[in-house]
């Protein structure tokens, strides 16, 4: 037994560090972050080739469009200078990274029980009073539960569940629907989406939702403490805020 050092009594009051994110989550997070940013950038480059969006099976210049998107500027597209072929090369390569990365994460998340443990939403959490309470906590910039700081807050869980199990799979499914080869192989994908041009529109809407999520996510990471949050997603270690 060593003699206690003078600093020791102060330790419990100093912020404690816990293990926050498992290795499966951390690896997938960064692989997926790169894939999503490249897919968004290259996707906007592809959009510049034909910026009108339609509903239904067909849609071209003489058909009614429900949206006419702006020309996306070079600072946000991949590549910066319009090049449909290269945008497609980036997009179709990282589509595989996104798809198989998500598949691996789904398997890992189920096997490590990360999904069941950390993302499960119980009915009582969705009661208006509970939603309102979480909303007020967000307004006060309090993002964690003092009693159980490891837990995600309700809005966090809702947004992660929507992104993981709705938005990302839908982006992949609508992407598959844009492939004429896959249309022949899996015609049911086109059928459930209501045709190729509907699939293309839903693909764009889903990508917009993912872009919005990414922006809100980054803002909240900064508000919650960028350094601490970044470290927790790199090394897994997270300091519980005071």
């Amino acid at each position: 037994m060593e003699a206690p050092t003078p600093q020791e009594p102060q330790r419990p009051r100093s912020p404690s560090v816990i293990r926050r994110h498992g290795v499966v989550t951390r690896v997938w997070h960064w692989v997926n972050a790169v894939a999503v940013l490249i897919l968004l950038g290259s996707g906007l480059g592809i959009s510049n080739a034909h910026s009108r969006l339609y509903w239904g099976r067909y849609g071209a210049n003489f058909d009614p469009a429900w949206a006419s998107l702006p020309h996306f500027p070079g600072w946000i597209t991949i590549p910066a200078r319009y090049n449909l072929a290269i945008s497609r090369r980036w997009h179709l390569f990282f589509a595989l990274v996104l798809g198989f990365g998500l598949l691996a994460y789904m398997v890992g998340g189920l096997l490590t029980r990360h999904f069941q443990r950390d993302l499960r939403i119980r009915g009582r959490e969705l009661r208006p009073t509970a939603l309102w309470a979480d909303f007020r906590r967000h307004l006060a910039f309090r993002f964690h539960d003092e009693h159980d700081p490891r837990r995600y807050n309700l809005f966090q869980k809702l947004s992660y569940v929507l992104v993981l199990f709705v938005a990302l799979p839908l982006a992949i499914l609508t992407g598959i629907a844009l492939s004429p080869g896959m249309n022949a192989a899996w015609p049911w994908v086109l059928e459930i989406l209501g045709g190729r041009q509907s699939a293309r529109s839903i693909h764009f809407i889903t990508a917009s939702a993912l872009a919005l999520f990414t922006i809100v996510h980054l803002v909240l990471v900064i508000l919650a403490g960028a350094g601490n949050e970044m470290r927790s997603m790199i090394t897994g270690r997270w300091r519980i805020p005071e």
Binding site: S47, H50, Y58, I78, N183, A185, G227
Partner: protein, 247 residues
């Protein structure tokens, strides 16, 4: 802390800008371009190679099927063929075949024709549904007694790009697919100039740029190395489009 925030916020922008630098590296370019082979390999391995593209009903057709690419080859040779209503036009089938052919439009019309209402998807994103009619490419290749050494079929067209005839190619899986036809009819009429008269390729499981218009020659070959710059098509050679346009 400000530094970290700047990094976080600027990271996304840097990544996008960095992509243009990365792809200048030959190795990175090679890896990225290998995505095409991965997509093709996955599709060919995981799905039925003979699966048919969706076909549509008449009432599902586009009211107006836009033209794209060349609207009229505009060369004196093509103008002469057109003036004579393609009486003098011939489709030459050669290369690795036992019986080279030189077919008039009438002779092509004698092959059993397939009628199909399919969707045309441009690489740019638009789609149009139209009705096509013509013989299966496979029937023509069999009539020409295609050699067992042939692995690709190359199409040479009447329209010029950069002074050279447009060209495209398919492998034998798509060449012998039942919906791969040489269309002489569209939407119940003879094919018009804007859509590739007198004969164009339809390869329904791939994007529009593979559907060569204004066909003049078909050659069976063992390799694409000596075709154009070696990648099998005008757009593939000159602007990095994927040769496999099934995605």
């Amino acid at each position: 802390m400000i530094g970290r925030r700047t990094i976080l916020a600027g990271g996304a922008g840097l990544l996008l800008a960095g992509c243009d630098r990365i792809i200048e590296q030959p190795t990175a370019r090679k890896i990225l371009f290998a995505g095409e082979d991965m997509q093709k390999g996955l599709q060919r391995a995981l799905t039925n190679r003979g699966a048919l593209a969706p076909e549509y009903r008449r009432d599902q057709m586009s009211p107006y099927f836009r033209t794209n690419g060349t609207r009229n080859p505009g060369t004196p040779q093509y103008a002469a063929l057109l003036a004579n209503r393609f009486e003098d036009w011939r489709l030459n089938v050669g290369g690795l075949v036992g019986k080279p052919l030189s077919l008039s439009l009438r002779q092509i019309g004698e092959f059993p024709a397939r009628r199909q209402i399919t969707r045309h998807d441009c690489v740019e994103g638009w789609s149009a549904i139209g009705e096509w009619m013509g013989p299966m490419l496979g029937s023509i290749l069999k009539a020409a007694a295609i050699s067992g050494r042939a692995r690709y079929v190359v199409f040479t067209c009447a329209d010029l790009y950069g002074g050279q005839p447009y060209y495209e190619s398919l492998d034998l899986i798509d060449a012998f697919h039942p919906q791969t036809i040489l269309a002489w009819g569209m939407n119940g009429r003879m094919l018009d100039v804007g859509h590739g008269a007198p004969l164009r390729l339809r390869v329904e499981r791939q994007l529009g740029y593979k559907h060569a218009k204004y066909l003049m020659r078909i050659d069976a070959v063992a390799s694409l190395t000596n075709i154009g710059l070696g990648k099998g098509g005008y757009w593939e050679d000159h602007v990095d489009y994927d040769w496999y346009a099934g995605i």
